[in-house]
């Protein structure tokens, strides 16, 4: 099954470009002019998100390097152990919704320290692969169109993250 997904992923982009351009040519679209016209927007859209990226990445970086996470791990670890949640996984659970880069770093660290085929290694891999960076996506996506009131979006995103986190723990302890 893994190799099927891998092949699809490998061919998706070349296939998509091929199909779009071929089909559009048949339809008589001036593909080159059209592409360039669409691509124009890329610059303004990418530049527009800079302030939101700076605000978000700065806060996440200060939070992470200030040492809050190791503090939580130290003082709340016992509580989470009671719930059968290994304390070593806490930094990953906290960073996952905040930053893709930082959580990948933490996940890699766990895998390298405890081994990829250990319980912690498998759990970290599953968690990293099963949710996305909620904060980052909300800040950038809403920021790019000037939305200031997120309404309930953040609550829904974080709630789903917690559920996916618990589901990861459940399935990894069941399967392996």
């Amino acid at each position: 099954m893994a190799s099927i997904f891998y092949e699809i992923s490998r061919w998706a982009i070349p296939g998509l470009i091929f199909f779009i351009l071929l089909y559009a040519s048949f339809k008589g679209v001036k593909i080159y002019e059209c592409f360039v016209k669409g691509a124009e927007e890329g610059f303004s859209l990418a530049v527009k998100i800079i302030p939101f990226l700076v605000a978000m990445m700065m806060a996440v970086s200060i939070f992470r390097h200030g040492g809050v996470i190791s503090l939580l791990e130290k003082y709340c670890g016992g509580f989470f152990s009671l719930l059968h949640i290994p304390p070593d996984i806490l930094p990953l659970a906290i960073m996952r919704p905040l930053s893709g880069g930082a959580s990948l770093g933490i996940c890699t660290e766990i895998i390298n320290t405890h081994g990829p085929d250990s319980y912690l290694g498998r759990l970290a891999s599953t968690m990293q692969g099963s949710t996305d960076t909620t904060f980052f996506i909300l800040a950038v996506y809403f920021g790019s169109v000037g939305i200031k009131k997120y309404r309930y979006a953040l609550k829904v995103g974080l709630f789903a993250d917690i559920i996916a986190f618990l589901a990861s723990i459940f399935i990894v302890s069941m399967v392996f």
Binding site: S9, I31, E40, L53, S130, V145, V156
Partner: protein
């Protein structure tokens, strides 16, 4: 809510670094993060331009409209507030598919494009529309068939079976996705 979380992250980081007697860590990480943010968006310009260009070609050829029409039965359920066969459904689907295949750098351009199109039909330009909230619930919890990066990390760490976490990830991500859509639906009713 975002204001509070943002403040808590920064203030707690500074206080703790201060207690440890290493305030310079904050200075360094704040500056580095600001630079990294700009670097990320500069790199994004190229990829954004590429995908927005291709999207325009697909749109002009009528592919996006056709796709939106094809998916109407599903999208009517998930996005009841969107007008019939609106092209934004095409962008949303492309974003979803890119996430599904673990193609992160294709997902962002489609996602930002979708947000732009959603904003065009949003009545209150300041506030997230119902469709935006649903789209972001889908996006932040999106189902991943192939967590390619993490498989790479496992391979590099010498795992006996680097891909064995595909099944468990798929389970957790499907649960997360379902819960996100349900929670979004409930919140939508409550906030009316």
């Amino acid at each position: 809510m975002i204001n509070v979380i943002w403040m808590v992250m920064i203030i707690s980081g500074i206080i703790l670094a201060g207690i440890r007697g290493q305030p310079e860590i904050i200075t360094q990480s704040a500056f580095e993060a600001a630079q990294a943010a700009v670097k990320y968006s500069i790199e994004l310009i190229g990829i954004m331009s590429l995908w927005l260009g291709l999207m325009k070609v697909a749109e002009e050829a009528g592919m996006i409209k056709a796709l939106a029409k094809l998916l109407r039965p599903f999208t009517r359920l998930i996005f009841p507030s969107l007008p019939q066969n609106h092209p934004v459904l095409g962008s949303i689907l492309m974003n979803f598919s890119a996430n599904l295949l673990g193609l992160g750098n294709a997902a962002t351009p489609f996602g930002l494009k979708a947000m732009q199109e959603l904003q065009e039909i949003n009545k209150n330009k300041d506030e997230a529309s119902e469709a935006m909230c649903t789209f972001l619930a889908m996006n932040t919890s999106s189902i991943t068939l192939l967590p390619a990066t993490i498989i790479g990390v496992r391979l590099a760490a010498g795992s006996a079976n680097p891909t064995e976490i595909i099944g468990t990830s798929l389970f957790a991500t499907t649960i997360g996705f379902t819960v996100a859509l349900l929670a979004d639906r409930i919140m939508r009713q409550l906030h009316r």
